[in-house]
Subunit: 452 residues, 2 copies
């Protein structure tokens, strides 16, 4: 009897998590993974730190190579091979092998689509010039790092003030010593925060010497003699040696759409909480797949390695015939910009308004440790809760070292549908090196308690 | 009409929190606080760091002085005045003014007992010698710090391997450069951890150069020429210049017992979740009061500043005629010993056994940050959960910087009666400087999921 075959499209976090999980539970299944790039299973989130020079070799970002998957997991991971088309009814995929320059097809019993996300790229003149970099794949990170070493640029423009843009701006400014200008179209950095909390991050950015240009839009990249010379924005020209695009990503689902799979929020592939699509035998996981927001109770999309890993694990368990569910997310994220830490979970004010929720918000400023303990630094905590019920809706934190990981307590509260009063009562840990006697999230909860 | 009078016995965390909270809600009440020591409202938890020399002046540990309470809060805080007896029926207290050497009585409408805790002191010869110190009051911390500066001792014995003992051992060893021997009667340090996790702390203690003597009992303190010369234990003699007792505390409830108040666990004063005792118009809060353990569902006692503050706040709100409840604790605690961090919440294995719970445990070892990120250090996480239901019962963490505050996520899970599966699914924050892609507590949850 032939072994049942799973084909996985995409060999990074979600795809390889699913494949490994399936292998742990089922020794017989044939598993073939097609990855269009040269690497499998790498930590895309680590790329800014490789660019910063904090990580010596790009190989350190690779969790497992195709060889490891083949030898230790009996997973046939084929790199530089791209799935060009999927026939869901005929249960066949068409593959182009970029190394050999040939095409072939392969049948599947189950198909997992884990094609990840694609970076936004502004459609402006000069955007494909040598010296313009993305940072969403390991190859692009390696190319940027080589450019920094070989060309020794002194000025950089980073386009985009979200997590990726800020992390790259940190890498180039704080670690590589370049003069960095950050260009962001919106009136605030970090659009995943409320404007008031985003402004604190903006101040932090300026504080470390990054030239922050808000409300400014990239219009062209200009070159001279084959090198980047400047960027042109709606407000003028900024000279630079280098441009890095950090504009966020969208689900990479052109292949899925062509195959007739249902798409949802932001064109992410629709899946149930088992990671099954509505199309029989076809599954999806990771940055290309839709998820569910447990606070708004609506379909949602987020591109994060941690969610991709969780989805992959659940897909793998279900593919093995066992049962697992991924209930959804609460919108948690964290980032570090030089000495500043930023975190968020749940809903923003704008999102709460859009959902017509009657809410209150409170923001407090305190210290990360007991005030008398050395190294106590600033922390700002903002909380949102529903009026009447007191149900916690979201939280945002901006502060120095030790500030941001507190967001996990708020995430746990959102998962548990806890109220502000519950948070005030919670038995959180205290000792002077770790916290004021009331944890900052509880100080914020006490302030919010007066409002709701 | 005469103002209604609240008398508070004890002017530290619980007593002053209650008094301040009442004043915020009721501008008319007369509030008189009797504190037998010279200070009000100080951070007892900060004493080890003052002894360490990390905090310059003892005044930095005082949140509010009696003058501040008088002038800003209209609270009559009388220091060096001790309540000697309480007549609950006659609603009168007897006070001795140690400064003036006189006694007087005062009537109350309401009485709040916040007498705190008393340190254990072994009943052995020489224990009252000059050079033997406790560290549970600010005065004792000041005396020890002065001894260190003036006598310049080079060797110290710390008796007791709980939080206080370890923090003082850190202060003397890591910050003051003394040769420290820690004597602990039990076969492990940190009895609030399971033996396997306690052993990790023991290793950490030895690792920083502290001479750790487990299973060894203090029998006498020996002096020569008015100075400490050595301690005698059941295993021999250890020469030293200084002895510090860090043996933990018990509720200070002799006054309450004499007044006929009901006592509960460890002789702590019985209170309901409003902090009212069964005796009309008499309230209790802080280290002298009983609480409730939300995991074991049994009465419990814990002496911690964070719990005392919460209890005081609730007492103050109820004293003002409004309604607040303190549901209880889950047994959360955290401590730092040199570069090591230790935390715990919920039940230990021994406690789960005593409650006849059918449970499983899992312990994992991983890194505080992404493995490739600079500064990623060791973290050990142990979780306990009930078999069948999967309900989380407790967690323990030992690791380096950034490890311990994760205990708060586990505490939130215990408050929410979450299962191990809930914890695996939780949307916790991830970025390489903060965590591996699966947070260590989730890696532990995944390991435990296989068992329950």
């Amino acid at each position: 009897m032939a072994r049942k075959r799973l084909i996985v499209v995409g060999g990074d976090a979600a795809g390889m998590s699913a494949a490994s999980q399936l292998r742990r539970l089922d020794r017989d299944r044939e598993i073939v993974v097609f990855e269009k790039g040269p690497h499998t299973s790498y930590a895309a989130c680590g790329i800014p730190y490789f660019v910063a020079g904090l990580i010596e070799k790009p190989e350190q970002l690779i969790a497992r190579t195709p060889e490891t998957f083949r030898e230790k997991y009996d997973i046939d991971a084929r790199t530089l091979q791209e799935v060009m088309a999927v026939d869901c009814r005929g249960k066949t995929v068409q593959i182009t092998d970029h190394r050999e320059g040939r095409s072939y097809s392969m049948e599947f019993d189950d198909l997992l689509i884990a094609t990840g996300a694609l970076p936004f790229k502004p459609d402006v003149p000069g955007i494909d010039s040598d010296g313009v970099f993305g940072v969403n794949t390991l190859e692009s990170g390696i190319a940027l790092e080589r450019f920094l070493r070989e060309r020794r640029p002194t000025r950089a423009i980073v386009v985009g003030g979200g997590y990726i843009g800020l992390e790259i701006a940190e890498a180039l400014n704080c670690h590589r010593g370049l003069k960095v200008t950050l260009v962001e179209r919106a009136p605030q950095v970090m659009g995943t925060l409320d404007p008031d909390m985003g402004a604190l991050v903006g101040d932090a950015i300026s504080d470390v010497g990054i030239d922050l240009r808000l409300g400014e839009t990239l219009q062209a990249v200009e070159t001279a003699g084959g090198k980047i010379r400047a960027v042109v924005t709606d407000k003028g020209e900024i000279e630079t040696d280098l441009v890095v695009l950090g504009l966020g990503v969208r689900p990479n689902t052109a292949l899925a759409a062509e195959a007739g799979l249902a798409l949802g929020v932001r064109d992410a592939i629709r899946v149930d909480d088992r990671m099954a699509t509505p199309t029989p035998s076809v599954w999806a996981a990771g940055d290309c797949a839709e998820t569910f927001h447990l606070v708004s109770r609506q379909p949602f999309h987020v591109a994060l390695g941690t969610v991709a890993n969780k989805m992959g694990r659940v897909a793998g368990i279900n593919l093995a015939g066992k049962s697992a569910r991924f209930p959804g997310v609460v919108g948690t994220a964290v980032s570090k910009i030089c000495k500043y830490e930023v975190a968020r979970t749940g809903l923003l004010e704008a999102e709460a308004k859009k959902l017509d929720l009657d809410y209150s918000a409170a923001t407090i400023k305190t210290r990360t440790r007991a005030g008398y303990y050395p190294g106590a630094g600033r922390i700002h905590v903002k909380l949102l809760a529903e009026n009447g019920t007191g149900r916690l809706l979201g939280g945002q934190i901006v502060g120095v070292e030790g500030a941001a990981k507190r967001i996990d307590v708020l995430a746990a509260c959102l998962h548990g549908q806890k109220t502000v009063q519950d948070l005030v009562d919670m038995d959180l840990s205290y000792a002077p090196p770790f916290s004021p006697v009331w944890d900052p999230v509880q100080i914020a909860a006490r302030a919010l308690l007066k409002e709701v």
